[in-house]
Symmetry: C2
Subunit: 171 residues, 2 copies
DNA sequence: TATTGTTATACTCTATAACTATA
DNA sequence: TATAGTTATAGAGTATAACAATA
């Protein structure tokens, strides 16, 4: 192989290194500043994600623990812990699925919905505005596109992360 | 205010929500698949970041704990824990700074450098290649640019995260 | 037997505060 | 007094394995 190939490879490696280090730093800061922004509501960033997922139209009438775990990219076991903490705060509730007695459907309580829609939105939109300062609508769309693309790659590296429907679609 | 303004604002909010949810998911997957990739070396993703930082030319001859914490966007206290775990594994070492007896300079041991350069690179470059499949060089540069920009915004939200030099430069 | 969800355990990481030792 | 670093503590999150109930 030529000298130029080696140089290109080394440059690509340095670039990847830098990219993932930036991603690591963003993850740290998302956790850090997000935690601070949500602190007065006693909510963590993981709990923010759970609450946000439960406001999705598709999940509004209740979503099974396993499906929610797949959607959030968290394991079922760890989601059980997250849910019980939110349940203790009266923000979510569980109900047995009539169609399958093994399954539990999770959904927001009235308190949980109010917290998300009314109380938390001040901090959340303030946080979004601060973190995305200087980003045009096109910038946001492009960034989402990149993250989406990386996410698909990540899922390919972790077979368990793919839902049954996605697996079927991929065949 | 007009109806269109409201619609635009609602769209922007939905877009931001989606963006940060994707970022949250990527952070989860970076931790999950990264942990798995580094597992056979007994290294976590946080420890990966520490080791990687210590290979930087500027830090090669030793970096103070506080400066390393600022660079990694981790608190001094938590970095102390990370360092002691790496020290216990014989991967990093501490030395008193001759110029200031309060300061401790951290650097890689020979074992640590070997682990990073020789042993871990197989898993790391494999992980990079997998997670960035389909990303052109331009894509990578653009994504880094976006993450950099967001990082600066995050730092503005968290004054403690800015180093003394950066503060001075901003004046 | 396979699947849904839970519990148990051990460890890492984080946030906060209080502390030691230098400057 | 201020700074560099450490220690202490409590809590959240994670990985892994084992378990109960149901299909």
């Amino acid at each position: 192989m030529g000298k130029e190939d080696e140089e290109t490879r080394a440059m690509q490696a340095a670039l990847s290194n830098r990219l993932f280090f930036r991603l690591y730093q963003c993850a740290n800061m998302l956790h850090k500043t997000g935690t601070r922004a949500l602190d007065r509501h006693g909510i963590t960033t993981q709990q923010w994600a759970v609450l946000g997922a439960l406001t999705r139209p598709a999940f509004e009438r209740g979503v099974a623990v396993g499906d929610l775990a797949t959607f959030l990219l968290v394991s079922r076991q760890n989601l059980a812990g997250l849910i019980s903490r939110l349940e203790a705060q009266g923000l979510v509730e569980k109900a047995v699925d009539a169609a399958d007695n093994r399954s539990r459907l999770i959904r927001l309580t009235v308190t949980g919905r109010k917290l998300w829609q009314d109380d938390m939105q001040v901090e959340i939109s303030g946080f979004y505005a601060g973190a995305l300062q200087g980003f045009s609508t096109d910038d946001r769309i492009h960034l989402i596109h990149y993250l989406d693309k990386m996410l698909k790659n990540f899922k390919a590296l972790d077979p368990e992360a793919t839902s049954a429907e996605e697996k079927q679609a991929a065949e």
